[in-house]
Symmetry: C2
Subunit: 200 residues, 2 copies
DNA sequence: GCTAATAGCGAACGGTCGTTAGGTTAAAGT
DNA sequence: ACTTTAACCTAACGACCGTTCGCTATTAGC
């Protein structure tokens, strides 16, 4: 029917699969993602889809990596222009909140949802989710430490505690957006971040 | 093989199924819960299991209701002894944190995980999850309002905002416990609650 | 004691799952 | 021009899914 693809187009097919898979997994979860439905949506055979990833787990990992990369490009990468410390962190969280708010096919943060889905299922997928979250957590902690050093936050600040609470704000925003569809969620989240990062 | 059960024992069987299902669904999610595995674990036939609920969705709803009831008995019911306002709320959140921490077969809060699982899947299950969360949210808001009336919190307090942030603390605790297995999570969560509920 | 109701079983149903084997076709390498 | 590689296909695999259909055995009501 359609002509064969060149090697250059092959990577494009892979990307096309991942994009579709990302959308599907956003709605149904990473485990609910199904090769058959993916193939139907892409008008390909199941074998043609899975051939690019070897197995379903390979597909899940590829989707996860794509989502992680997307998060990185969307959140911390957009905050590099801001001054290190509370300013950069505030910017990063605002970007994250905006990212969760926009409805580009899905709603909420893919990584956050995947974390909730695989928290009780040992395996490679869970490990990869954890690694992504740890990287983000390290980023937040580092910026908070810088903020303390710059006297933007009190010297006695418990950095780990503050990171914990900031994470809570993001989780609350994610739930408010995805489950409750509350249009005020972004405003609330931004206000909460400000309360945490602006010394009283 | 085994003798038939009386009507009184019938309800016991139902409870036994739900208990097993609750454990299974805690590990695999409400959708990952499977009639076949449930039957194997209970040493029953699939038909014998599903007969009590009519369909898988019926089973999911029953499990959800059981989890909701368990939450109610475990969290707000244990806080009735405390004085309305910040005291009762603090007690309730401490109970919730303890509830999430204990490893009675699972870890974390079942309702919270179910909320994350069904946030993007319209249907009866999602509606029931939302109703349970709304009831809890109303409880928190009511106690916060009482606290403001009692001058335990500043008059200008944004009650909805505070409820949002408290919810975030609980979500962070749930993630820290289930995903990261951080033993410090309960301490962090209690400290965060105190920072929010004790006026500066 | 007889009848009706019901808990639970065994077996099968049509579907879908993830995966594999083999074939076809186009491009790449030589 | 011939061979190799690789993308993608069709077809089938065994396993499991949720659900349904009788059937048996027990209990409850009369």
């Amino acid at each position: 029917m359609s002509p064969r693809k060149s090697v250059a187009e092959t990577a494009a097919t892979r990307d096309r699969i991942i994009e579709s898979a990302l959308a599907l997994a956003s709605a149904e979860g990473l485990e609910g993602l199904t090769i058959g439905r993916l193939a139907t949506e892409l008008e390909m055979s199941k074998a043609g889809v899975i051939g690019h990833f070897g197995s379903k787990e390979g597909l899940q990992l590829a989707v996860l990596d794509a989502a992680t990369e997307r998060f990185r490009m969307r959140v911390p990468a957009r905050a590099v222009g801001a001054r290190p410390g509370t300013e950069r962190l505030t910017r990063a969280f605002h970007e994250w909140i905006d990212y969760m708010s926009q409805d580009e096919g899905h709603g909420g943060c893919f990584l956050t949802s995947a974390a909730g889905e695989f928290d009780g299922r040992p395996g490679t997928v869970r490990d990869r989710v954890l690694a992504a979250l740890d990287a983000w957590s390290a980023y937040v902690t580092a910026e908070l430490t810088t903020a303390v050093e710059n006297r933007e936050l009190p010297e006695r600040t418990d950095v780990e505690q503050l990171a914990f609470e900031l994470n809570g704000v993001a989780l609350a925003a994610n739930q408010s957006i995805q489950l409750h569809r509350d249009p005020q969620a972004p405003t609330r989240a931004r206000r909460a971040v400000a309360r945490l990062l602006i010394a009283p």
